[in-house]
C-alpha cells in the first residue's frame, strides 16, 4: 500500500518535484530558501516555526517572571515602581498564557506529530495551518506593540470594571489576544478534521496514539470555547474606548457578567494547556517503560471527559463574588469530576510503568516531575473546589502556586519532555543525555523551590498581585525568588546543550528510543511527505511491546 493511494490528496499541498522522490531528502533540507520556510505548507516546517516562536515567547514571559520575582525580594519597592510592576505581572500572564502555554504543544508538537501518528502526509488544511501560525504572530505583534507603547495593568484576567476604567492601553493587547484566539480555533479545527478524515488504513479510533486523543479533546475545547473569549475581549475593548456600559455598573452594566463570560473560556483553557501535556506524557511513559498503556481506553476517554466537564466548572472562580450559595455547591461538585478524570490518568500512567522496562532518560525524568506536579497541583485544585477552603485561599498566593503547579508545572514538564523525546525525530540529532538529566533535575528542583513557598504564602494570607507586602511574608518570598533563579538556570543549561546538539549533535537513528509509537515508523528527520517507499502497516496498537523488535527503519540518506 502506498501512501498516496490511501490518503486523499490535499488541495493545498504542493506536489513534490519528481527528483526528490528518489533522494527523499528530509523536510529540513527540501528547499533552503527563506521563502521555502516562510511560505511552506509542510506541517513539519510549520511545527518547527511554531517551536521557534513559542520558545521566544517563553523567553519574554520568563524575563517578565524574573522581574516580578526580583521586585518581590523585599517588602517595599526593590527594582521597579508600582505601575511598572503591575504591567510586568500582566504581561507575564498574557505572554505566558496566550503566546506560550496555549499554542506551545499543539502548535509545535501537535503540528509536527499528529499527521505522522495518523500515517497522513499532512494535516487536512495545510494553508489554514500556515495561516494559524501567522495569525498567532500578528496577534503577538499587536500585543507586543501595545506592551511597548504603554502596556496594560489589569492582570491577565482583565476584570471589569477596572479594565474598562484603567488609563493604560488595554485595546491593542486585548485585540492581539482576540486575533490569537482565531489562530487557536483554526488549529483546533484543522486537528479535528485531520483526525476524522486522514487516518491511515489500520488506524482505527482505538488504535490512535493517546497523544492524538489528547490533541483531539483539546481541539474540541479550542473550537467551542475560544469564540466566547474573543467576543468578551471585544466587548471589553468597546467598553474601554466607547463606554458601552455592558460591564460598568455606573452605566447599568454587570461586572460579574464579565467574570462568567471570561471564565467560561478561561477555565476550559486550562485544559487546552494541560490536555496536550497529558497526551505527551502518555507517549513518553509508554516509550520509556516499553509497555502498552495500562487502561488505554480509560486514558483516552478521560481526555474527552476532562474536555466535557471542563465546561461546567467555571463558577468555582466566583465563590466569593456574591453568587448564590447553591451555585457554589453545584460548581464545587462539577469541578471535582475533573479531579476524578485526572486521577484515572495518573493511576494508569503509574500502572503503565508496572512490569515495564524502564529506561531513565531525560524525558522520563520530566515524566517523574510531571507526575508529582499533576498529583499535587491537581489535588490542590480539588481543595480549591472545596467551597469553604476557597474562601481564605481565593486570590492569594495559594492560587498562584496551585495553577503554576498544574498548568505551568505539568505543561512545562511535558513541553521539555516532548522537546527531548522528539528532538531526534524532528532534527535528526542527539543531545547529551547527562546534561539533559542535570537540567531536568535543576528545573524540577527550581520549580518546587519557587512555588512551595508560595503555597505557604497563600496559607499565611498574602494576596496575589501585591507590589508591596507586610514584612512577615519576606522569608518565603526570598525563598521563592531564589527558587526562580535556580529554575532559570536550569532552562539556560537546556538552551545551551540543545542548541549545541542542533549544530554539533551526532546523527540520530530513525528510532533511537526503540519506540513503537507510530511517529517512529519513518526516518529521522522525516522526508517531506512523511514516508518513503511503502507506507507502514498499522496492525498493532501503538506501544505494543510484546513481540521482539522487527527490522529497523533505514536511516535517512
Amino acid at each position: 500500500m502506498s501512501p498516496s493511494s490511501s490518503i486523499a490528496a490535499e488541495p493545498g499541498a504542493v506536489p513534490a518535484p519528481d527528483e526528490h522522490h528518489e533522494h527523499h531528502p528530509s523536510y529540513l533540507v527540501d528547499g533552503t530558501t527563506v521563502k521555502s520556510w516562510l511560505l511552506t505548507l509542510d506541517h513539519k516546517r510549520i511545527g518547527v516555526m511554531y517551536l521557534i516562536w513559542v520558545l521566544l515567547f517563553f523567553l519574554i514571559g520568563g524575563i517578565y517572571a524574573l522581574i516580578v520575582r526580583l521586585e518581590l525580594l523585599t517588602p517595599g519597592p526593590t527594582i521597579i515602581d508600582a505601575m511598572t510592576y503591575n504591567r510586568a505581572f500582566t504581561m507575564h500572564g498574557v505572554v505566558m498564557i496566550f503566546l506560550f502555554m496555549i499554542p506551545a504543544i499543539p502548535g509545535a508538537f501537535g503540528n509536527f506529530m499528529l499527521p505522522l501518528m495518523l500515517g497522513a502526509k499532512d494535516v487536512a488544511f495545510p494553508k489554514l495551518n500556515l495561516m494559524s501560525l501567522y495569525l498567532l504572530l500578528s496577534g503577538a505583534v499587536i500585543a507586543i506593540w501595545g506592551m511597548i507603547n504603554g502596556g496594560m495593568d489589569t492582570g491577565w484576567t482583565f476584570y471589569t470594571p477596572y479594565s474598562t476604567h484603567t488609563t493604560t492601553t488595554v485595546a491593542p493587547i486585548l485585540f492581539g489576544a482576540f486575533i490569537i484566539g482565531f489562530s487557536s480555533i483554526a488549529t483546533g479545527l484543522n486537528f479535528i478534521v485531520t483526525t476524522h478524515t486522514m487516518r491511515a488504513p489500520g488506524i482505527t479510533w482505538f488504535k490512535m496514539p493517546l497523544f492524538v486523543w489528547a490533541m483531539y479533546a483539546t481541539a474540541c475545547i479550542q473550537v467551542l470555547a475560544t469564540p466566547v473569549l474573543g467576543l468578551v475581549l471585544l466587548l471589553v475593548v468597546g467598553e474601554n474606548i466607547f463606554h458601552f456600559g455592558i460591564f460598568d455598573p455606573a452605566r447599568g452594566g454587570d461586572p460579574v457578567l464579565f467574570q462568567h463570560l471570561f471564565w467560561f473560556y478561561s477555565h476550559p483553557a486550562v485544559y487546552i494547556m494541560v490536555l496536550p501535556a497529558f497526551g505527551v506524557m502518555s507517549e513518553v511513559v509508554a516509550t520509556y517503560s516499553r509497555k502498552n498503556i495500562f487502561g488505554y481506553r480509560a486514558v483516552a476517554f478521560s481526555s474527552l471527559g476532562i474536555a466535557f466537564v471542563g465546561f461546567f466548572a467555571w463558577g468555582h472562580h466566583m465563590f466569593v463574588s456574591g453568587q448564590s450559595t447553591f451555585n457554589a455547591g453545584v460548581f464545587a461538585v462539577l469541578t471535582m469530576l475533573v479531579g476524578v478524570f485526572t486521577a484515572i490518568k495518573v493511576f494508569n500512567w503509574v500502572g503503565t510503568v508496572y512490569k515495564g522496562a524502564v529506561d531513565f532518560k531525560t524525558p522520563f525524568a520530566y515524566f517523574c516531575g510531571f507526575l508529582y506536579f499533576t498529583v499535587f497541583g491537581g489535588m490542590t485544585g480539588v481543595a480549591f473546589a472545596t467551597a469553604s477552603l476557597d474562601v481564605p485561599w481565593h486570590d492569594t498566593y495559594f492560587v498562584v502556586a496551585h495553577f503554576h503547579f498544574i498548568m505551568v508545572g505539568a505543561t512545562i514538564m511535558a513541553f521539555m519532555a516532548a522537546l527531548h523525546y522528539w528532538f531526534p525525530k524532528m532534527f535528526g540529532k542527539t543531545y547529551h543525555e547527562g546534561w539533559g538529566l542535570v537540567s531536568a533535575a535543576l528545573i524540577i528542583l527550581g520549580f518546587n523551590a519557587t512555588f512551595i513557598p508560595q503555597f505557604l504564602l497563600g496559607n499565611a494570607g498574602m494576596p496575589r498581585r501585591y507590589y508591596e507586602y507586610p514584612e512577615r511574608f519576606q522569608t518565603l518570598n526570598v525563598a521563592s525568588t531564589a527558587g526562580a533563579s535556580l529554575l532559570a538556570f536550569g532552562f539556560i543549561i537546556a538552551a545551551v546543550y540543545l542548541t549545541y546538539a542542533l549544530v554539533y549533535g551526532e546523527r540520530a537513528s530513525a528510532n533511537p528510543w526503540h519506540s513503537r509509537g507510530y511517529e517512529w515508523l519513518t526516518e529521522s528527520p522525516p522526508p517531506t511527505h512523511n514516508f518513503v517507499g511503502p507506507q507502514p502497516t498499522y496492525t498493532e496498537e501503538p506501544h505494543f511491546y510484546v513481540e521482539p523488535e522487527k527490522a529497523e527503519v533505514p536511516d535517512a540518506v
Binding site: V320, M336, V382, G461, Y467
Partner: protein
C-alpha cells in the same frame, strides 16, 4: 496539635468561629494530598527500580487493568473528594448565612481604602471596631472597581462589587487587632489597601460606642467624602431619609403604609414580597439595592415598571443610607392596623 499544624502550614492565628472549622478541613485535605502524592511517588520510584530496562529491545508483558482496578481508580478519589465537598459545603453554608441577631456594619471599598459605617452613628476609614463574641454581618459594596475584603485571621473573604451588596459575617473570638487586605486587584495601590479590625472586649466596646456617640458631630473619625458638603446627621438612617427626599423617592413611595405609584417603604424590609412573575422573595439589603439600581429586574406584583434607575446617581454611602432608612421603617402598628406616626427608629444593635 492544632498549634503545631498551624505553624507548619504558616496559617495565621484563628480568631473567629469560622477559622477553626476551615482549618480542620484544611488539615484533612492537605494531609490526604500529601499522602496521595507520596503514595503515587513511592509506587512510581519503586517501579523504576524494580522494572528497569535490561536490554534496549526488551519485550514486556501485555498488561491491562481489570474492570475492578479501573473502578477502584475512579471510586477512591471520588470518595475522598465527595467527603471534602460535604464538609466544605456545610462550612460554606455556615459562612454564607449570617445569624439573625448579627450586628450590621456597612463596608465600602474605594481605591484605595476601606470605609466602614455603623447604622447608629460613627463612620471610620480603614479601622473597623467590633465587639468580641458577637456575630457581625458585613454588607459590602464598592464605589469604583471590584475589591475583595479579606481578614486572614478570621478566614473570611468577600468581593466588594460596585452596584450591589454582598454580605459575609464573622464572630471574633478574641480581642486584638487583625489585618484586613484587599485581594482583588484594583489598580496602582492595590497592595496598600490595608486596614485593620479592632476586636474589643464587651466592656471596652460599650465604652467605645459611648465615646463615638459623644463626639460624633464635632469629632468624627472621618466623614464619608461624598456627604462632606452636606451638614451630616449622626445616623445613617437620618441621612437616608434626607437623601431619599432629595432624590425624590417620596414622590412614588409613602412611608405610612399606603401604596402609591410604588410600594410603601413602611414594613418593606424583611417582608416576603410577591413578584410579577409569580415568584416571591424576602426583601433584604441586596433586593433594595437592586431595586434602586435596576428597578425592572424584580418588579413587585401590582406596580408598573416606571421607576428610573438610580445607577450612577447615588453614591455608595447614599445607597447604604437609604437602605438603612428603609430598614428603620418598621412599626408594631402595622400589624394592628393603627395609623402610623411616621418612621420609628429601631436600633439594629
Amino acid at each position: 496539635m492544632n498549634e503545631l499544624l498551624n505553624n507548619i502550614l504558616f496559617l495565621p492565628e484563628q480568631a473567629s468561629t469560622f477559622a477553626e472549622r476551615v482549618d480542620n478541613l484544611h488539615y484533612f485535605v492537605v494531609g490526604v494530598t500529601m499522602l496521595m502524592s507520596f503514595a503515587v511517588g513511592t509506587a512510581a520510584v519503586f517501579f523504576f527500580f524494580r522494572y528497569r530496562r535490561r536490554s534496549p529491545t526488551q519485550t514486556t508483558e501485555y498488561v491491562v487493568p481489570s474492570v475492578k482496578t479501573e473502578f477502584l481508580f475512579v471510586s477512591l478519589p471520588l470518595l475522598f473528594f465527595l467527603t471534602w465537598f460535604v464538609i466544605g459545603f456545610r462550612d460554606f453554608v455556615f459562612v454564607s448565612t449570617p445569624p439573625k441577631d448579627a450586628m450590621d456594619v456597612y463596608v465600602m471599598g474605594k481605591q484605595w481604602m476601606w470605609k466602614f459605617s455603623y447604622p447608629e452613628g460613627p463612620n471610620g476609614v480603614n479601622v473597623l471596631h467590633v465587639p468580641a463574641n458577637r456575630p457581625v454581618r458585613l454588607l459590602i459594596t464598592s464605589r469604583d472597581v471590584i475589591h475583595s475584603f479579606f481578614v486572614p485571621s478570621f478566614r473570611i473573604k468577600m468581593d466588594a462589587v460596585p452596584g450591589r451588596y454582598t454580605q459575609t459575617w464573622f464572630e471574633a473570638t478574641k480581642p486584638g487587632t487583625y489585618q484586613i487586605l484587599c485581594t482583588e486587584y484594583c489598580g496602582l495601590s492595590h497592595s496598600k489597601m490595608l486596614g485593620e479590625v479592632v476586636v474589643l472586649a464587651p466592656e471596652e466596646w460599650d465604652a467605645w460606642v459611648k465615646e463615638q456617640r459623644k463626639g460624633s458631630l464635632q469629632n468624627r473619625q472621618d466623614a464619608l467624602a461624598d456627604l462632606s458638603l452636606v451638614p451630616q446627621p449622626a445616623r445613617m438612617a437620618e441621612q437616608g431619609q434626607k437623601v431619599a427626599a432629595e432624590v425624590g423617592c417620596f414622590k412614588c413611595h409613602t412611608v405610612n403604609g399606603e401604596p402609591h405609584i410604588g410600594p410603601t417603604f413602611l414594613g418593606l424590609y424583611g417582608k416576603q414580597e410577591t413578584l410579577q412573575d409569580g415568584m416571591s422573595l424576602r426583601v433584604d439589603e441586596a433586593y433594595i439595592t437592586q431595586s434602586m439600581m435596576d428597578p425592572g429586574a424584580h418588579l413587585t406584583s401590582g406596580f408598573p415598571n416606571v421607576m428610573p434607575t438610580f445607577q450612577g446617581k447615588l453614591t455608595g454611602p447614599q445607597t447604604a443610607a437609604i437602605v438603612e432608612y428603609i430598614k428603620t421603617l418598621r412599626t408594631p402598628d402595622i400589624r394592628t392596623g393603627a395609623s402610623s406616626q411616621g418612621p420609628v427608629y429601631e436600633p439594629i444593635q
